[in-house]
Subunit: 790 residues, 2 copies
């Protein structure tokens, strides 16, 4: 095979790389004298030396070689940087190619701009040390490790025109999410998706340890990744000239292979099965080109190169000398002209316009985002003549709606889930599509296809990572999951929320579609599984994030779920959490009432109470969530039968954030509107889907908050009947009615017989369910408006 590089190309590439390395070191260390045109003095050096050098030269090496590929092959590349903590590398390269200064004109491509570039890095009021939202060309912050490869595949889905090189650090490779992400290739369809080129960057060390890959031979690593289905090629060494030659050749081979696979699969009759995609194992020294040793201790090619290889350069003359020599070793005078610009022959190595990885539209997905084509939800509404008249399955109705979404958006919308899409009753989508399956299929398989629009894998991490990559590169999607296990991605949620918080403030980052969760198979209906599957705490976690980012919805029935689902899919730059049931349940609101109720976020259900909306009730029975709503209405019916003189108001809450004040959340209700629902001084018995503390926290600033008595999940769970679950947690109709009687002043004293009746029903339930294994008829046959048995 002919060399990919001529000698002169190799020299140019090496100089470009040195320029990127120089700028990276400059960012970590310098606040003045950017081109070292005078001797390095203490005051040129930042007082606090922060940042990560170790991974950076490798990142720069890959970047310049990908630039060559883009120019030569005219390819659209999205650079996903797993070791995003090597932020100086991405910043340096985007500055060199000009995309940085286009976005941040202050940081111009000249000596004044270079000084700003250096000073701003990890500096108060400046830019973060990682490849964060502020960094052009980034969709992966890389601070929390493990998600780069899932992001890369997510970005490649439905982008046949895109190739995503994904740099994975050998530290990151030890994490669980990354380990699982290698499986992603089994879900990538070369015909309709783009390609991912994983580049495992083995630099041998983490913060203070060798990496496992670092102490594994090339041969063993090749075996491992071959066994995972890839075709690995190795680039290994430390001599720059040899490394450039190897890297250029291996990249050419890899991109040739990608092109060959795509040609083959994009024929009219593509082959079956999963192709063997190329990947690259790049073994280069940590802190490559940096100081070999400092104070007699090994630095280059060791973990000491991880962050700042030589410290105290203001105070320590010898250290400052090491730094100066190190910077000068790149020969900045041969890289930059008198004005501080990259020399023209090096500028020519960078691609132009949107070809530059820092300007990649796929890394600023909002630029590519097309609005979702949504059907009219009215076509899927249930016909509810009177509240409680019919039973229905909320998520199944949403499934019908999603079926239309899938059909109307054939390349713009994907559903992700850990093998639970059917279990969550979204099965109607399978009338028009299938689960994505590139592997072997059997004649008896159902709903598996290489072009399926539902991606199921038993890894919440992968579902979340794929969806994030898909959204960040400009599309729409939904993650459906068991409620309890969404905690598996708590930390990924955090990072995405942080990304959105920052990106929303950057005018150049166009809004991306919201990340939508549908949590079904929730805490109250884990009949098969019990306690390990019973946890409603994700919404507590969500509520910690910035108010303008997060929304939590608890639609009580199908028509409200439809409104909420449709609404969420039309929003952007948010994280929407919808918790909804999948079991047959009474339906409360017709489609118009549902729309009105959901738009308001919460409201009085006049038909359920026994007092008009303007009269102050004796007690407010409030509810949020489908099961709490049923139990509240049953409790109200009990109260109306047993204590007819009691004035009861029913308030249902769909949009949890509406409970907060306007100052706390954009959806917050003004105090007068809040009091028009919850009164200024009456007791509120609040039946809540989740942990009670969340309601206290959301209503904390309300005048009447001391009158909120919340029943919710109190960590009592097991495999039992759905009604028994509510009893164990005192969220059932009898406990709610008892709470009302207890908290209305002076009422308890006069209602001893009613209290006895309610407690007798609880005792009867206790025995009945343990004998029969199912709920007593007064519960299982209960219907709104039919009265209660004695």
């Amino acid at each position: 095979m002919a060399d990919s590089l001529t000698d002169s190309e190799c020299i140019l590439i090496d100089r470009y790389w040195r320029a990127a390395n120089y700028l990276s070191v400059g960012q970590i260390y310098l606040m003045d004298n950017p081109l070292l045109r005078e001797p390095l003095k203490p005051e040129h050096i930042k007082p606090r030396l922060l940042g990560h050098w170790g991974t950076t030269p490798g990142l720069n090496f890959i970047y310049v070689h990908l630039n060559r590929i883009i120019r030569q092959r005219k390819l659209n590349l999205l650079y996903v940087c797993g070791p995003g903590h090597g932020g100086p590398g991405m910043v340096a390269n985007t500055w060199l190619e000009g995309s940085y200064s286009e976005i941040y004109p202050d940081v111009s491509q000249d000596i004044a701009g270079m000084k700003r570039l250096f000073k701003q890095f990890s500096f108060p009021g400046g830019i973060p040390s990682h490849a964060a939202a502020e960094t052009p060309g980034s969709i992966n912050e890389g601070g929390e490790l493990g998600y780069s490869l899932a992001h890369a595949f997510g970005a490649a889905f439905d982008h046949p025109e895109l190739i995503v090189p994904c740099i994975i650090g050998d530290g990151e490779a030890e994490t669980g999410p990354l380990s699982a992400s290698w499986q992603s290739l089994k879900f990538l369809n070369p015909q309709r998706d783009g390609a991912v080129l994983p580049i495992l960057h083995v630099n041998g060390y983490k913060i203070a340890n060798p990496t496992l890959s670092g102490r594994t031979s090339d041969e063993e690593l090749v075996h491992l990744y071959r066994a995972m289905g890839y075709a690995p090629r190795v680039v290994t060494g430390s001599d720059p000239a040899l490394m450039h030659t190897q890297m250029a050749m291996v990249l050419d081979q890899a991109f040739d292979e990608i092109a060959a696979i795509q040609r083959q699969y994009r024929q009219e009759k593509p082959p079956a099965g999963v192709p063997r995609w190329p990947m690259i194992l790049l073994r280069s020294p940590k802190g490559w080109t940096g100081p070999k040793s400092v104070d007699g201790k090994k630095v280059e090619d060791f973990w000491r190169a991880h962050q700042v290889p030589v410290s105290g350069c203001r105070e320590n003359d010898e250290h400052r000398r090491i730094l100066e020599q190190w910077l000068k070793s790149y020969q900045p005078e041969k890289l930059f002209d008198a004005s501080g610009r990259l020399r023209p022959e090096l500028q020519a190595l960078a691609p132009q316009g949107d070809w530059r990885m820092g300007a990649s539209p796929w890394a600023n997905g909002g630029r590519l985002r097309q609005p979702l084509n949504t059907p009219d939800i009215r076509a899927f509404s249930l016909d509810v003549s009177t509240p409680g008249a019919i039973q229905g399955q909320a998520t199944e109705q949403l499934g019908h709606y999603l079926r239309e979404i899938v059909q109307k958006n054939p390349n713009n919308f994907l559903i992700f889930g850990p093998d639970e899409t059917a279990s969550n009753r979204l099965s109607p989508v399978f009338e028009v599509t299938a689960r994505r399956w590139m592997g072997e299929r059997e004649p008896y398989d159902e709903q598996l296809a290489p072009d399926g629009r539902v991606l199921e894998v038993l890894s919440e991490h992968l579902c979340q990572g794929w969806l994030e990559g898909y959204l960040l590169s400009g599309r729409h999607g939904l993650f459906n999951c068991y409620e309890a296990f969404i905690h598996i991605i708590d930390s990924m949620f955090n990072q995405h929320a942080k990304w959105l918080k920052v990106s929303r403030k950057l005018p150049w980052r166009a809004p991306i579609a919201s990340l939508n969760y549908l949590l079904s198979s929730h805490v109250w209906r884990q009949d098969h599984n019990g306690y390990s599957h019973q946890d409603p705490g994700f919404i507590d976690h969500v509520a910690n994030k910035k108010a303008d980012i997060v929304r939590v919805y608890l639609p009580p029935d199908a028509n409200t779920l439809l409104w909420v689902g449709d609404h969420c899919l039309k929003t952007w730059d948010r994280i929407n959490v919808i918790v909804a049931g999948k079991q047959p349940s009474p339906q409360w609101l017709d489609r118009d009432s549902a729309a009105k109720h959901c738009e308001a976020g919460m409201g009085i259900w006049s038909w359920a109470g026994n007092t008009d909306d303007d009269t102050s009730p004796d007690v407010v029975m409030a509810c949020a969530g489908d099961v709490p709503t049923i139990e509240t209405l049953a409790a109200v019916q009990l109260l109306r039968d047993l204590v007819p003189e009691l004035n009861v108001r029913v308030v249902n809450v769909v949009d949890l954030m509406a409970l907060q004040t306007q100052e706390q959340h954009p959806h917050g209700k003004p105090e007068p509107a809040f009091e028009a629902l919850f009164t200024a001084d009456k007791p509120i018995i609040f039946a809540f889907h989740g942990y009670p503390s969340l309601i206290h926290r959301l209503t904390y600033q309300r005048r009447n908050h001391q009158n909120f008595h919340v029943q919710g999940f109190s960590e009592e769970g097991t495999t039992t009947t759905p009604f028994d679950m509510t009893v164990l947690n005192k969220l059932d109709r009898y406990h709610l009615a008892l709470a009302a009687i207890t908290h209305v002043p002076h009422l308890a004293a006069t209602q001893g017989h009613v209290i006895d009746t309610l407690q007798a029903r609880l005792a009867y339930h206790h025995d009945y369910v343990r004998e029969h294994g199912e709920d007593m008829p007064e519960v299982s046959q209960w219907r709104w408006g039919q009265g209660n048995p004695e």
Copy 2:
């Protein structure tokens, strides 16, 4: 090689297996007529059919074969059941071997007991459907998938006498945590640890999908696991007789290999490197021996066998007939005698006493737990003559204490962390031990050794899973982690808390050592990394769990951290979270004051306020956490200088749970004691380490709660100076002083000049830090008691 089984042994083993399968089906379906001695009628069948059949026959198959190994080789085995949702299998087997009835005498080994065994399963008031804490022999619930292999390795560490077969479902194998867990073998030292035998149970399907392994050939799977460092052996098929023969042979080979490795490594001069441990790939049909099809649809060897393969058996005569035939196919009359006991020739197949896997002491680790040998913390205290007199690094002091713990408990205590033990300043432990490293070592490596007592891998999932396995099998440990990234294991924390909640109520489960987290490199001191590393929300997550399980400590300095760390390591059946700083910081309390303060959980720091403890102050300046404590004290100093007439009290909180009422938490303070600190009616300016809502939530039931004004993390983060971080979140001294002036009634009106002064300092800080990149001298040189500059 000779056959491992004679024909008659094979027949016996098959019958035993059929008995376990029969009991498994019985548990899912029957509430009466347990031995089918009369025709199956609707009323014999449970009204709600719950549970998971699909995986169960495979689990039973493995169990009976391991019984043979135990008897023949006299080995201690701990059966870790990844697909714990196949709970009927573990329950059936422990009943057959007698360990179940010893723990639950009601469920006797006769026909009455069998009826109870069947009815109780997934039945209200009965037992859960999974291998939960209630299940003898279990340390892995298996409801949330992904942790079995990490648990298995955790149990094997420091247990040279133990072998842990770990069954991994092919669904679980797709998860991130499990994918990473294969690396565990690189941390297992055959000399001092036991062995793990992974058994990947490929039954081909999940809930509604094929598994990825299910559609991968044996050859490819063997390559894959060989490439990961194992020596896989395959057992594949569906004909029971052939499968028994294969399984017995392969198990014999695997246990021979384990014995050979252990012999080799337990010589005086063990070889270097990681041995190639055996593993087993068991490919058997999902729902093996169940109905082949129902209503014309494929069930056995397909995903429809996952839960209840034939439903509606009460109502549907044909389905009931299928069920009856299925049960009868096991020929119960040949398995059980007239009294319902397993026939003697089959009983003989089970091991005896503690050899039975249901009676394994390692699965009830509290039985093996030895108290930790702890040194006197006074040896490690810092000498603090007056508050604030010296600087110290809290976690480093704890490191000295941990060094002694490591030394005094050479086989009973391990430290786990994701490559951050040194970064978290626990380095003194490396004076007496090293990081565990079985792989290749270089001459310049530091603190790596095959017998190291610190296990570091870049996977929080592995750290947590290993530690859980280590604790559950009877030892002690500590997980040190960056605060933000502990969210990665939120869901694992949930599951462990659930396990503890249940196991504490089971008298036969002896208490295990607490799970201790040390979260350092916390939100306020992520100087190198910025926003992605800034998240204090784990303690919010923790606070959702049952009060008697969880504790959260925020020691403000070294001596308090020492007391708290020592205390936590001596507790059991809890989860303790300690958040503590690693940076040089002022030290407040001498060792006796620290002990007194920590024992109380919170208290007045009289030396810091300007009013005696009995006088009601104008304002309470409260703080929890090291950085908030510094800022509070600096604010108090400002107030004392600028508004000397203001009576200020300082309250520091170490034990967050003490803020709750006694009814809410065992550490909760009675209301009078609470008011003695926080007053009944005065404003409290609370500087908090985490999200402010947690303090509101914990103090919600306090009479004076409306006067709590909490400053904490408000999701404002980036790479900046530590002090600027507090300013961004309004937790700094100036904002705290301003808050005090604002909230003391009528004070603000008279203190316009002071407010101007404080705001001017904030403005000056803003400009100073952005120009100089470090904090202004009045902050960086601030010391308690030295007065403030003008």
